[in-house]
């Protein structure tokens, strides 16, 4: 059983790296020590009117200094609160949560779409294989320098302002890329398209899913997704994204 910790993390630094996208380094001894790529943390608001945790993927882990990096978009009130915090401020977090990505030594696509891009960075750092990093942005790019250090980066933008105009699959086609395994995180339509692409091309495909959460640790059954087979825990065709996921074999889940 993977160990989980509740910690009061301290903000080391925070900056806006793109419009409404923030990068926050947090000091946290135990979570950093135990985390791996594809896992997430539950971040709590300091304001008492907001009680549920915000699940945020781990973007980078610095085991040496006991720190993790979170990159998030301001999507509502909780993330707006986080974005206003400064160095030295405290945030209660629980983690590391979820299963994380499996790591195979196969020629890989690391595919991130929008705010699904950040977790692919730590994965890129952990993977030991040929890496083709395909990133889909709406318009403004972010984390590009970091990704470029990890492998060849292909970019798609919705408005065509950089790289391929279109989505990540358009970028794959335009660049004539192929791979033996897909690791992906991003919006549902992207994941759906990748699942189909992987099936057609018989590629192993791992995707990271998202759902509203309450406990974040598998107790409340809020965050399920439909699974193809009956799940051992639930005894019905539901898997908990926070516990059995967020990373699933694409063919295991229906969405």
């Amino acid at each position: 059983m993977a160990e989980k910790f509740e910690e009061t993390a301290i903000i080391i630094r925070q900056e806006e790296i793109a419009d409404d996208i923030y990068s926050m380094w947090l000091h946290t001894d135990q979570i950093a020590a135990h985390a791996k790529a594809g896992q997430f943390v539950s971040v709590y608001c300091n304001d008492g009117s907001r009680l549920l945790p915000r699940p945020i993927s781990i973007c980078e882990i610095d085991k040496k200094d006991g720190a993790i990096r979170l990159v998030y978009r301001v999507a509502g009130k909780g993330t707006a609160e986080f974005s206003g915090m400064h160095t030295g401020a405290q945030l209660r977090i629980v983690g590391p949560l979820g299963n994380g990505f499996p790591k195979k030594e196969k020629k890989a696509f690391l595919i991130g779409g929008g705010i699904g891009i950040p977790p692919m960075l730590q994965l890129a750092k952990e993977l030991n294989c040929e890496k083709q990093i395909v990133l889909g942005f709406r318009d403004e790019l972010f984390l590009m320098d970091e990704f470029k250090k990890q492998g060849k980066v292909y970019v798609a933008t919705e408005d065509g302002s950089a790289g391929t105009e279109g989505n990540v699959l358009d970028a794959i086609r335009e660049n004539g890329l192929d791979a033996e395994i897909i690791y992906a995180c991003g919006p549902m339509p992207m994941l759906r398209a990748l699942k189909e692409y992987a099936e057609k091309n018989h590629i192993e495909c791992w995707i990271s899913m998202e759902e509203r959460m309450a406990c974040g640790i598998g107790a409340c059954l809020a965050c399920v997704c439909q699974s193809k087979e009956k799940d051992a825990h639930s005894n019905v065709k539901n898997k908990r994204i926070c516990k059995e996921g967020p990373v699933f074999r694409a063919e295991e889940v229906e969405f």
Binding site: M1, E3, K4, E6, Y44, G48, S49, R50, L51, L52, P53, R92, V94, E211, R212, M213, A214, C215, G216, I217, G218, A219, C220, L221, A222, C223, V224, C225, H233, S234, N235, V236, K237, N238, K243
Partner: protein, 301 residues
């Protein structure tokens, strides 16, 4: 200093329990809290067969609380008996199984199945707002409350605690009906039905449209109902609804609860149940309360 309480003939080490549906069967939170420190673990509602529950989104955050419409997803009594009860038996805590069903027969089947199980207490959920049949329908009509309570008592081996819905005009009417039906105790409150609309997407946030509201936002309603119920019946009450800390738990006890259940607070702080036990102990020391029983219903007229 005594923190032990007698709940329907079962002695709990302390009055702090977990609220059904928020704590699974304890396995997940056991990574954060020592289950031996809790008065009892109350399990997620279990039915005669596995239930898939409602579509997602199943939860929504609201001001000072949350809505849920999990819809009683559960693995069914067979897997529950095989896996969850043995897990809980490892700990020095009591086991209260929350029971749900679509019909009286389904409730009976679960209760019968638990007769020979090492389970201490049964909590009969007749107040779930998130399932189409059963659930709350039983809990909003005093005649139905009395009838199902009688059936439960006929078939149950363990003490029967009826879990009441706050979505009623007069909670004492339901409480008296359960008492008349032979209930050994009462649990209240279940969630209050609420709704959230996303104004940007112009859609209901929950797939189920409505959900049950829980968390500190409902605490004053829960305290009021526990108080009113304590004045109306003589069976013990398990108080719940928005207990976030020891102060809230003590308030509930002073209003008349023999024990308390902590639900939504677990989601905000996975250690909270243990902290509440410690906080009640501190309070008793500070005010030199020799026996926690002296606090039960201590504030009235």
């Amino acid at each position: 200093m005594n923190m032990k309480v007698d709940l329907c003939g079962v002695t709990l080490n302390n009055p702090v329990m977990t609220a059904s549906g928020t704590f699974g069967s304890g396995a997940e939170y056991a990574e954060f809290v020592d289950l031996n420190k809790l008065g009892a673990v109350v399990t997620k509602g279990v039915a005669n067969v596995p239930w898939p529950g409602n579509p997602t989104p199943r939860v929504a955050e609201v001001y000072g609380g949350m809505l849920n419409a999990v819809g009683l997803q559960n693995p069914g009594i067979d897997l529950f008996v095989e896996r969850d009860i043995p897990f809980l038996k490892q700990f020095d805590t009591k086991i209260m199984v929350n029971v749900c069903g679509h019909s009286t027969e389904e409730y009976i089947e679960v209760v019968e199945r638990l007769r020979d199980q090492p389970v201490d207490l049964l909590e009969i959920n007749i107040s779930c707002p998130n399932v189409k049949e059963g659930g709350i329908a039983f809990g909003q009509d005093p005649k139905a409350v009395e009838a199902i309570t009688k059936e439960m008592k006929k078939h149950a081996a363990q003490p029967v605690i009826m879990k009441l819905s706050p979505n009623v005009t007069d909670i004492t009417e339901m409480a008296r009906a359960a008492e008349a039906g032979g209930a050994d105790g009462l649990s209240l409150i279940n969630t209050i039905t609420g709704m959230k609309i996303d104004i940007n997407r112009q859609k209901f946030v929950l797939a189920n449209k409505t959900g049950g509201m829980s968390g500190p936002a409902i605490h004053p309603v829960a305290v009021r109902m526990v108080y009113q119920t304590a004045q109306a019946v003589s069976i013990p009450i398990v108080g719940m609804g928005g207990i976030m800390n020891a102060e809230d738990a003590i308030e509930m006890i002073l209003a008349g609860a023999t024990a308390v259940s902590v639900g939504t607070a677990n989601f905000t702080n996975p250690h909270v149940t243990e902290e509440i036990v410690a906080g009640i102990r501190d309070y008793m020391e500070r005010y030199q309360v020799a026996d926690i029983k002296d606090l039960v219903g201590a504030v009235h007229e």
